[in-house]
Structure formats: structure tokens, C-alpha cells
């Protein structure tokens, strides 16, 4: 008989208890629970203060990461009702073009055009997608894939909205630090808002439609109306991102419908973890900087996204967030095994 050791994984006691806030036994436990959140939130909040210490380039990367994170949250909320989108760029582009149009023709300031573009854009997108909300899975995905390209071609062919030149010289945003804090605030508001929404009974209907639409219909609920609401709500952060970046760049053009705005949010969510909004955030804040570092390698970047996508879909479909969360809440110890 030999004795070998194998590793045993146990949930830390606190994990089971922390479902109920009153069960927290001490400040230490509270700190244990809050530490990862505070570290991430604090890190994001502190980043813009690094201005002067880091290259301004990295502040712009941060801005891009926030943009993609907003699109990724948007993607994930749509997925929660069973709508898989390959075209978040449509939301981004429509938000951008509405704000661009208002700004260049009416000369309204950004703090008016951005909110209008956000709400009107999301409404427009929900209306446009309404007829195809009956489609499921791959069919819905294919339609969303083609829509941003359709808009590009329409603008190109009809030369409306500035045609291939786009609209430039739009009112700029105040300064990058302030801009960063605005987008970070919107990002956190979206994140906490979506989390609250999906944990509510209203959110339960969303997930019900995704998992079992027949039972939701049998409960007397109009699933297409709910899907339309989901598209509208999910559309808000995405159209905001488009409008915001339009003013930041002082320009909107066909590039606002670029595939990057569809592929990066999707990849971020898959890498970070579908179905937990924190996963979408984590994914975006990892992928965007990595992709910037790889910019020197040109289109090789796309190859890297694809590899990341394949690795995560095949190897770790739960995503980084759930994996890390599990590891954090468990500890390993060797136990003797008799053979």
C-alpha cells in the first residue's frame, strides 16, 4: 500500500456565508470580499490621474477600452434574452451619425446631442430590429452581421451624411481627463444598472425567453415586445459610445460602422465570460490594451483575436471572470490517498 497525495479543492467558508450580508463575521472577511472589486474599481478610477506620468497614448487606449466595454455590456444584455449579435457596430455607428448630424447642422453642444443620440439611436435600432426579433440564433446573427455594412453602403451610394468623407469639425469634448471620467461614470452606471436589471423579476423574463420561450408565451407575455425592450436598453450604452467617441474624435464617418466595433465586444465578452457583466468588462480591459500593443503587427492582430476566441470557446467557455472567481473563493490542500 502506498500513500500518495492529491490536491483537494474546497470552497472557503465565507463564500457560502456571504450570500447573506449579515453573516459576515469580521472586517477581515468583508475586506476579503470587497478587495477584488475595490482594486478593479479603484484602478479604473485612478487611471486618468496618471496623466503626465504615462504617455497620452495610453489614456486614449483607456478611452477605447471603455468604449469597447460599453459595447460588450450591450452585447451581453442582448445575449441574455437570447439575441446573439454580430453587429454592435450598427449601434455605435447610428449613435455617432445622429450626434454628428445634430452637431454639424444645428450646432448643439455635446451635452445635448449625446443624450439625444443615445436615446434616439437605441430607439431607432430597436425599431429596425423589431421585424427580425422572431429569428433565432444564427439567422438573427446573420442579419445583424449585414446591417452595419448595409448602412456603410447606403451612405457611400447616396452620399448623404457626408458620404465617404463623413462629417468633420464637430464640437470637441472638454479634455481627456474629464472625458475619461464621463465615460467611466457611464460605464459603471451601465454595469451596475444591468446587473440590477438582470437580477430583478423583469430580468428573469429576459432569461426565460432565452432558455424557454414557449413557457414565457404560455405565461401570457409578448416575447417580441420584451425582446424589443431588451434591444432598446442594451442599445443605450452602445449608441452612447458611438456618440461620445464621435465628439471626442470631432468626426463621424463610415468607419463608425467598422467590424472592429462588432468583433471586439463579442471577443471581449467571450474571453471574459458570457452572462456575467463583469466578464464583459474584464475582457474589454484585457483585450483592448493587448490589441494596441499588437498594432505594430498590422493585420496579425485579427489572427490573434481569432486564436483567443477559439481558445476560449473551446478551452474555457466559462471565461476568465468565472475562472478567477472560482479560484479566489477556493483553496487547495493536499490530502492523503491510500492506494
Amino acid at each position: 500500500m502506498t500513500i500518495t497525495f492529491r490536491k483537494e479543492r474546497l470552497d472557503r467558508g465565507i463564500k457560502a456565508r456571504s450570500a447573506d450580508i449579515y453573516a459576515l463575521a469580521s472586517w477581515r472577511e468583508l475586506a476579503y470580499l470587497l478587495a477584488p472589486r475595490m482594486l478593479l474599481i479603484g484602478g479604473v478610477l485612478a487611471f486618468p490621474l496618471l496623466r503626465g506620468l504615462v504617455d497620452a497614448y495610453w489614456l486614449r487606449v483607456m478611452l477605447m477600452a471603455c468604449t469597447i466595454a460599453l459595447l460588450a455590456l450591450s452585447w451581453d444584455l442582448m445575449a441574455s434574452v437570447g439575441l446573439v449579435s454580430l453587429g454592435q457596430a450598427m449601434f455605435f455607428g447610428i449613435g455617432g451619425y445622429i450626434t454628428g448630424y445634430l452637431s454639424s447642422t444645428l450646432k448643439w453642444p455635446p451635452f445635448i446631442t449625446i443624450p439625444i443620440a443615445t436615446v434616439a439611436g437605441a430607439l431607432l435600432c430597436a425599431t429596425l430590429l423589431y421585424p427580425v426579433l422572431r429569428l433565432r440564433g444564427i439567422y438573427f446573427a446573420l442579419i445583424t452581421l449585414s446591417l452595419p455594412q448595409l448602412f456603410e453602403r447606403i451612405i457611400e451610394a447616396t452620399k448623404i451624411l457626408g458620404g465617404t468623407d463623413g462629417m468633420s469639425g464637430l464640437t470637441p469634448l472638454p479634455d481627456i481627463t474629464i472625458s475619461l471620467y464621463v465615460i467611466i461614470a457611464v460605464l459603471f452606471a451601465t454595469f451596475f444598472g444591468f446587473r440590477r436589471l438582470i437580477d430583478s423579476d423583469y430580468g428573469l423574463v429576459f432569461k426565460g425567453i432565452r432558455d424557454n420561450d414557449r413557457s414565457v408565451i404560455a405565461a401570457g407575455i409578448n416575447i417580441y415586445w420584451y425582446k424589443a425592450q431588451a434591444v432598446f436598453i442594451a442599445g443605450l450604452p452602445a449608441t452612447f459610445a458611438g456618440a461620445f467617441m464621435t465628439h471626442y474624435n470631432q468626426f463621424v464617418g463610415m468607419s463608425s460602422f467598422a467590424a472592429d466595433y462588432s468583433v471586439l465586444p463579442l471577443t471581449s465578452t467571450v474571453v471574459g465570460g458570457i452572462g456575467v457583466f463583469a466578464g464583459a468588462l474584464l475582457g474589454a480591459f484585457l483585450l483592448v490594451p493587448i490589441s494596441e500593443v499588437l498594432r505594430a503587427y498590422g493585420t496579425l492582430r485579427v489572427v490573434i483575436y481569432c486564436i483567443a476566441l477559439v481558445v476560449f470557446v473551446v478551452g474555457r467557455p466559462e471565461g476568465i471572470f468565472r475562472y478567477a472567481q472560482r479560484k479566489y473563493h477556493q483553496f487547495e490542500r493536499p490530502v492523503a490517498v491510500e492506494e
Binding site: D201, L204, V205, K207, D211, R214, S215, I217, N222
Partner: protein
């Protein structure tokens, strides 16, 4: 005679040329309990799907409370007060049993009455589960649906219908897959619902239990109505014995 709550008029459904339901008509008075019987594949579930809007008819009409609903979507019929159970249960498998009732309790039909707070809905859901025989003090209402035995899922299906406070309750083979004791515990509940004035349609193979509820029955065979009447008349019918009971007698 009072106005019928439900009128089914020459309802017909063909699936790619094959007739599943052929020219079926009947009226249902408020408070009545109708049994639908017939061999497997005779079109009972299709008839239920036609009445509830889950399948669109090839021809014919459905009228509920004097209003034609033939082309109304299924969810809107629920809003009018028609609730149905499914023969093949498909709950929200990854939700706890009581959370399965939150979605119907959130629906436009009962949402306002139940109240806006999620706590209210949880409380109503627990009460409904207790009514269909989930032991309140046990862990059963909190278990995820995927871990529950089939009999519990059938009763959860009934609770889902009751959550909608239906005026017309349609039960498609609710008792199949339930144990004798489960049937015995659910039967008085359905009797009580009938006595409270809810109109009931029951598709059921267990005739003894069915006729404790139903005061009238129609018999389907190959999609056609071959008999209609009081339970004892229907059972005595020669054609019915041949089509349906024949196999049991043999």
C-alpha cells in the same frame, strides 16, 4: 341558455397534407368541465394548441366570450384568461421551483394584482406551490427544477396555470407521469377549482379520474370527433369502444 364561454367551429389542422384535426366543433358553457379522450395521435394536443394559439388552424374559428380569437397570438389569449398546461413539461430548468412561477406572476394578466414588489411574487409563488402539494417547510420549493421528479414538474405545470388565475383552464394529460398518490392529492384541488366556477377542459387517459371532474366528454379518433355526451353515454358508445376502449378490453 347562457352564452358559451368557448365556441369551436369546424376547426381543422393539416400538417403537410396529413389531417391532425378535422372539422371539430363544440360549445362550452361557463363553469362546465369538458373531457377530451381518444387514442394516441388522435389530435387531442393539436386541438389544445389550436384553442390556445400555439398552432394556427388551416380552417375554422375559435370564439372566446363572444370574441373571435382565431388569429390572436397565444400570449394575448392568456391575457384574456385561457391558461393551458403542456403534456410535455418544459419548466425553466435552471431556476428553483418557486422562481418558475415568477414569470407568470409578472405577466400583464396578473402582474398588477399580485403587486409590484418581487417579495410579493415570491410569497404568492410559495403559496401556489403549497396548493399543488409542494411541502412548504421542506427544501423542495427551493430546489432547481431540473432536480425534481417528473410528478413534481407536472404539479409545477399546474401551479403555473393557476398563477394566471384562468377563466378557462386546459389541462393536457396532467395526470400522466404522476403516481397514484399524486393524482389523489391533485384531484380534489381541480374539483375545488371547478366548484369555484372556472371552466375546465381536460385531456386525460385515466377515465375514472377524468369523470370525477368532467360532466361531458368528446371523443377524437384520427382527428375527428366520433362521439360527444355524458360520460356514461360516451363510454357506452359502440364506435368509441371500438376505437378507444377496445384495446383495453381485449
Amino acid at each position: 341558455m347562457a352564452n358559451p364561454i368557448l365556441q369551436v367551429d369546424h376547426l381543422t389542422k393539416r400538417f403537410g397534407g396529413i389531417g391532425a384535426v378535422y372539422r371539430i366543433s363544440f360549445d362550452l358553457q361557463p363553469g362546465e368541465a369538458l373531457g377530451i379522450i381518444g387514442p394516441n395521435g388522435s389530435g387531442k394536443t393539436t386541438l389544445v394548441n389550436l384553442i390556445t394559439g400555439f398552432v394556427k388552424p388551416t380552417a375554422g374559428r375559435v370564439t372566446f366570450r363572444g370574441r373571435e380569437i382565431t388569429n390572436l397570438p397565444a400570449y394575448a389569449r392568456v391575457e384574456l384568461g385561457i391558461a393551458r398546461s403542456f403534456q410535455m413539461v418544459r419548466p425553466f430548468y435552471n431556476l428553483p421551483a418557486f422562481k418558475n412561477l415568477i414569470i407568470p406572476l409578472f405577466s400583464p394578466r396578473v402582474g398588477k394584482r399580485v403587486g409590484g414588489k418581487s417579495g410579493n411574487r415570491d410569497e404568492v409563488a410559495m403559496h401556489l406551490l403549497e396548493e399543488v402539494g409542494f411541502e412548504r417547510d421542506s427544501q423542495v420549493p427551493y430546489k432547481v427544477a431540473s432536480s425534481l421528479p417528473h410528478g413534481y414538474l407536472k404539479r409545477l405545470e399546474l401551479a403555473r396555470c393557476l398563477a394566471l388565475e384562468p377563466e378557462l383552464l386546459i389541462l393536457d394529460e396532467l395526470f400522466s407521469g404522476m403516481s397514484m398518490s399524486e393524482v389523489a392529492s391533485v384531484l380534489p384541488l381541480i374539483e375545488k377549482i371547478r366548484e369555484q366556477g372556472t371552466t375546465i377542459i381536460m385531456v386525460e387517459h385515466r377515465l375514472r379520474e377524468l369523470f370525477r371532474i368532467a360532466n361531458r366528454a368528446i371523443v377524437l379518433n384520427f382527428g375527428e370527433k366520433i362521439a360527444e355526451g355524458k360520460p356514461e353515454e360516451v363510454i357506452a358508445d359502440e364506435q368509441v369502444r371500438k376505437a378507444y376502449l377496445g384495446s383495453e378490453d381485449a
